[in-house]
């Protein structure tokens, strides 16, 4: 198949209009931005929405900016903008690490952070990045706005907190001065979905890990945080011993599935190795001044 089943199409010129359309047309209506997940699924007729509301005109939702002690990223910000943002490059190089291995330039020019997070694919990289950094998502409806932590955002694979008449408008990431961060991914070929991937950030104070985050991709729920590993790292001296402990905990914590990308035990082993590598790289970036 190369043609989706018949559907209606409208485009929204404001967030309010998009939300009104969602409310008016009901749960079989989908927002479309980059469309690089939704449209292939529609062409394969795995998804059959009755109506698409195109939000590509909402260019006021495309931004990466500093707002006090937070970074605010508009939901319509494309991968390519994330990859080239000097702000993200200086504060959280984990974004560049991840963007380098997300799909291909065509997808990165169109795909958006809002669409990537809302797709809820367990192997999606930005879900792991935002979960790693303890970010949160602003969800708007006609009646108001709520903020949901990225770590609470997913109800399961392809299932999020976003209701049928809601949309994600912004992703918020707390700024942690001096933090180092990194993303490590093993894939069959660059740009493929991860076999396994690990993101992390660290802040170090007097040689001791003050704060940290670890998010996993493709080995369980989307953006799966490795909570035990994080707890084990906090307060420990930064170094191989701590990383090894965290690696083992992350591996024990993840829930990989055996599939065409490999057996569960391989993915689990990868999580351990990638956790070590990501922590080393993040720590090196702390030493280099956070970048």
């Amino acid at each position: 198949m190369q043609t989706p089943a018949p559907f209606e199409y409208e485009h929204a010129s404001s967030v309010d209009e998009a939300l009104a359309l969602l409310e008016r047309h009901g749960p079989e209506t989908r927002l479309v931005a980059g469309g690089h997940s939704l449209l292939p699924m529609m062409k394969l007729r795995l998804a059959r929405p009755e109506r698409l509301v195109d939000v590509n005109d909402l260019t006021d939702l495309a931004y990466v900016r500093r707002e006090g002690d937070q970074i605010a990223i508009g939901a319509l910000t494309r991968h390519a903008q994330l990859a080239s943002s000097p702000l993200l490059a200086s504060l959280y190089p984990i974004f560049q690490d991840a963007e380098r291995v997300i799909a291909d330039p065509v997808v990165r020019n169109r795909g958006t952070i809002g669409g990537s997070l809302c797709q809820g694919d367990p192997a999606e990289d930005l879900s792991a990045v935002v979960a790693t950094l303890g970010g949160s998502l602003k969800i708007r409806s006609r009646t108001g706005e709520r903020v949901v932590a990225a770590r609470d955002f997913y109800l399961g694979p392809y299932e999020t907190q976003v209701g049928p008449a809601e949309m994600v408008t912004e992703v918020v990431i707390p700024i942690r001065p001096g933090a180092g961060s990194a993303y490590e991914k093993v894939e069959r070929r660059p740009g493929d979905w991860a076999i396994a991937a690990v993101g992390c950030f660290l802040t170090v104070s007097g040689g001791v890990i003050a704060d940290c985050g670890i998010g996993l991709a493709a080995v369980g729920a989307p953006g799966l945080p490795a909570l035990e590993a994080e707890a084990a790292l906090r307060g420990r001296p930064a170094g191989e011993e701590a990383y090894a402990a965290a690696a083992q905990m992350a591996a024990a914590h993840c829930r990989p599935q055996t599939d065409q990308r490999g057996p569960a035990e391989y993915k689990r082993d990868l999580v351990a190795e990638l956790t070590r590598r990501a922590l080393r790289r993040a720590a090196a970036r702390v030493m280099a001044g956070g970048a």
Partner: protein, 767 residues
């Protein structure tokens, strides 16, 4: 032969048009009142078709027809079984592919019904509404299982053997008895898909006024689809025209008529509409024939000193559910070349084609050559390892020496020319092999897994030995070439223009090249088996000889002097004794006007060249890689390949062929594998699951060089080069991997070298 133009790295004259988006591929062709066909395909690998309910589909507005096998015109035949000759003792079962499944489906993806509608979208909606009543039958996906009592794919072929061949040369038994050791090997070479950027497609149109059926199709040439379509529909060849527009890649996978083309033709004749079919990527993955898919057991008898004495192979080919015209020939090539570049006095090969409930296999870039090279090169390295001989040394000791040509192998192939030890030496030098070995020693001392691998490979080229060409002069004086083979990325317009420029004494911009329309030029063969320059280029020289000769006749007439007093010089006819000559423009105009010259021949040359044998290109390749045992990732750092392609007409394009095929060779061992369930249900259904590498994936440095020994078989002295990298690179990389993993005691890894597989072999699952 090298002239001012042959041998020059001319830029491809095709590129500007194509990269600027001015190409016209099949789907770009627009036809008035075009209808669109889409196919209902079996979801099961083997089933009886109890019924097809198309009532809901037919009730959909815009649907014109739904047809099944029963609606095909009486006399419509299956696809022809043999299009390439096989030896007389090569037995082939009568299991051709139907145009639409008839009563039984034998692979998941086989077309059962076709829906014709006013648009592709409506056709697809209606495909969804056609109800197939299928009764599942037992099925088998693995070729070894198919032969070991698996359920018959065809009731009339109970043992699932659909072709068989056996060939012995030399005293095999005696040589094995005399051998100090027998090295054993078992190889599983997975199925690959060609993945051309442009998938298959066609437009069929029928003119009842002319009783002419025209098929525009994305194919490697117009000639084979034309012959096959005429055969399938029982039409006179003259009543079928095939036109091949720009083609976005084929790699062997568009070498003939697809059954879907025949369905489009039937629908066009039935409805009077032009009918378009452009397949989706999903269809291409499911239903386009695939390549490779070979299981090989090998034995190599060696002397203690490392002499290769005898080779025995049993090759099981995963033929798939039906035999296409060129399914079996791939196995013939793979076994005919079994002894590779080596002097092995005795060899025995057995070929068994196994029917499986999977899409049929056919040629894919290399088409038997890579399989042959992979097996013999792995065997030679195994022998070296067992005997404790350096892999370079064992090759030097056994390669066919430069003075031995023409060399007849034990299995009867005749290698026309080459210098295999010279290629190897140059590849070792170019790769700084001693330094590579030192780097490996340093890596091993640090506990890293680093490997260096060699391969020396042969590339038979020129199969189906003849080709044609025609040439004429246009009114503006440019020379028009109508080669019998057509371009689908090779750069014929560039290389043929260089050849013709030298032959005619003009600049290449005075040469126009046109091909792809069966109504223009002569009946030819086509572009495959690295044959176009060698066979087609030689035909072109013959055509141009005749054209120049006729130019002299016309000039003699125009100047009213005897032909003997004229000669061809720098693109025009000039009198031997000086004075004004006759330009090409004047010749063309005179020949067109034809006043008072009725007895002179048309200003046109035609050539048909028969290659007396096969021209054997060859290559030596050094691969360097490192394995990350923690993740299983194999990083191929460098490929150095030295090629003997005989005379190189255009070094830029030849290098492009070597690099392109090397990348496909890397893909074949690192990333790609078509996989199926044990029952034949496909697991790789799209590019999500079938890992085709893209530009960022190939970080390997590829170093190329040419070291020609001209072929004595053709006037140009050229040999094939287009499949080089596909043949040598997988073997060299496999040997390098083996070398890297040697400290762990790993003896063999089947491709692809996926991270998970390598992780397991390096002990990951035991950690």
């Amino acid at each position: 032969m090298t002239g001012p133009w042959v041998g020059r790295p001319e830029r491809r004259r095709e590129d500007l048009r194509l990269v600027a988006g001015h190409g016209a591929y099949l789907d770009d062709l627009q036809f008035p009142s075009c209808a669109h066909v889409a196919f209902v395909r079996s979801p099961l690998p083997h089933a009886r078709v109890r019924g097809v309910d198309s009532s809901a589909a037919l009730a959909t507005p815009g649907v014109l027809a739904v047809i099944t096998a029963g609606d095909l015109p009486p006399g419509a035949r299956m696809l022809p079984l043999r299009t390439i000759p096989l030896p007389p003792d090569f037995t082939v079962a009568d299991v051709p592919m139907p145009i639409l499944a008839d009563g039984e489906v034998r692979f998941a993806g086989e077309a059962v019904a076709a829906v014709l509608a006013e648009s592709r979208a409506v056709a697809e909606d209606a495909v969804d509404l056609v109800q197939l009543d299928l009764e599942a039958l037992p099925s088998v996906g693995d070729p070894r299982a198919a032969l070991a009592g698996g359920p018959p794919v065809h009731a009339e072929v109970g043992d699932n053997v659909v072709f068989r061949w056996h060939q012995v040369g030399g005293d095999v038994e005696g040589a094995f008895r005399a051998a100090a050791r027998t090295i054993q090997g078992r190889f599983s070479i997975p199925r690959l898909q060609a993945s051309p950027m442009e998938p298959r497609g066609c437009v069929a149109a029928y003119s009842s006024a002319e009783d002419l059926l025209t098929l525009w199709c994305s194919s490697q040439d117009p000639h084979r689809p034309r012959l096959q379509l005429a055969n399938v529909l029982g039409r006179d060849l003259e009543r079928v025209r095939v036109v091949v527009p720009d083609v976005g890649g084929a790699f062997g996978s568009k070498g003939g008529l697809a059954p879907e083309h025949a369905v489009a033709a039937v629908l066009a004749m039935r409805t009077g509409r032009s009918v378009k079919w452009v397949e989706t990527r999903s269809e291409n993955v499911l239903a386009a024939y695939q390549g490779r898919g070979m299981e090989v057991d090998a034995e190599l008898g060696v002397s203690e000193a490392g002499g290769l004495l005898a080779l025995r192979l049993r090759l099981v080919s995963d033929a798939g559910a039906y035999l296409l015209g060129h399914t079996a020939v791939v196995s013939l090539t793979a076994t005919s070349l079994a002894t590779g570049a080596y002097r092995i006095p005795a060899a025995e090969v057995t070929v068994v084609g196994a029917a499986t409930n999977k899409v049929p296999t056919g040629p894919y870039r290399g088409a038997g050559r890579p399989e042959a090279a992979f097996v013999i090169e792995r065997m030679v390295d195994s022998a070296a390892a067992e005997l404790g001989i350096d892999p370079v040394e064992i090759r030097r000791r056994n390669l066919v020496p430069a003075g031995a040509f023409p060399y007849r192998t034990a299995l009867g192939s005749e290698y026309d020319s080459g210098d295999y030890p010279g290629l190897l030496d140059r590849a070792l030098e170019l790769s700084n092999y001693p330094e590579e070995r030192r780097a490996q020693a340093r890596a091993r001392a640090e506990g890293r897994l680093r490997g260096v691998g060699l391969a020396v490979a042969v590339e038979s080229s020129g199969n189906s030995a003849w080709e044609t060409a025609a040439a004429t002069i246009l009114d503006d004086g440019r020379v028009l070439l109508l080669p019998g083979s057509s371009d689908h990325g090779q750069g014929h317009a560039t290389t043929f223009a260089q050849i013709a420029a030298d032959a005619m004494g003009v600049d290449p911009d005075q040469i126009e090249v046109r091909s792809g329309d069966s109504q223009e030029g002569l009946v030819g063969v086509g572009t495959f088996a690295s044959r176009s320059v060698t066979v087609g280029g030689s035909a072109l020289l013959l055509a141009l000889d005749e054209l120049r000769h006729r130019c002299l006749s016309w000039a003699a007439h125009l100047l009213d002097v005897p032909e003997e007093q004229l000669r061809w010089e720098a693109g025009a006819v000039v009198p031997l004794g000086g004075g004004p000559g006759v330009s090409r423009q004047r010749l063309a105009q005179a020949a067109r006007d034809r006043s008072d010259s009725a007895d002179l021949p048309e200003l046109r040359g035609e050539g048909r060249f028969v290659l007396p044998g096969l021209a054997f290109g060859s290559s030596a390749c050094v691969a360097t890689l490192e394995v990350d045992p923690a993740t299983g990732w194999v990083e191929v750092e460098r490929i150095v390949t030295v090629d003997d392609a005989g005379t190189v007409v255009n070094p830029l394009l030849a290098e492009g062929q070597v690099i392109g095929s090397s990348v496909q060779g890397l893909a074949a061992v690192l990333f790609e594998e078509v996989s199926h369930e044990a029952d034949g249900q496909p697991l790789t259904e799209s590019f999500l699951s079938y890992a085709v590498p893209t530009l960022p994936d190939i970080r390997t440095e590829i170093v190329t060089e040419f070291r020609p020994t001209p072929s004595p078989l053709s006037p140009l002295g050229t040999k094939g080069v287009a499949e080089s990298g596909c043949i040598g690179v997988p073997a060299a990389v496999a040997n390098a991997l083996q070398d890297a993993l040697a400290p762990l005691g790993v003896r063999h890894v089947d491709p692809p070298f996926s991270p998970e597989k390598i992780w397991r072999l390096t002990g990951g699952d035991a950690r």
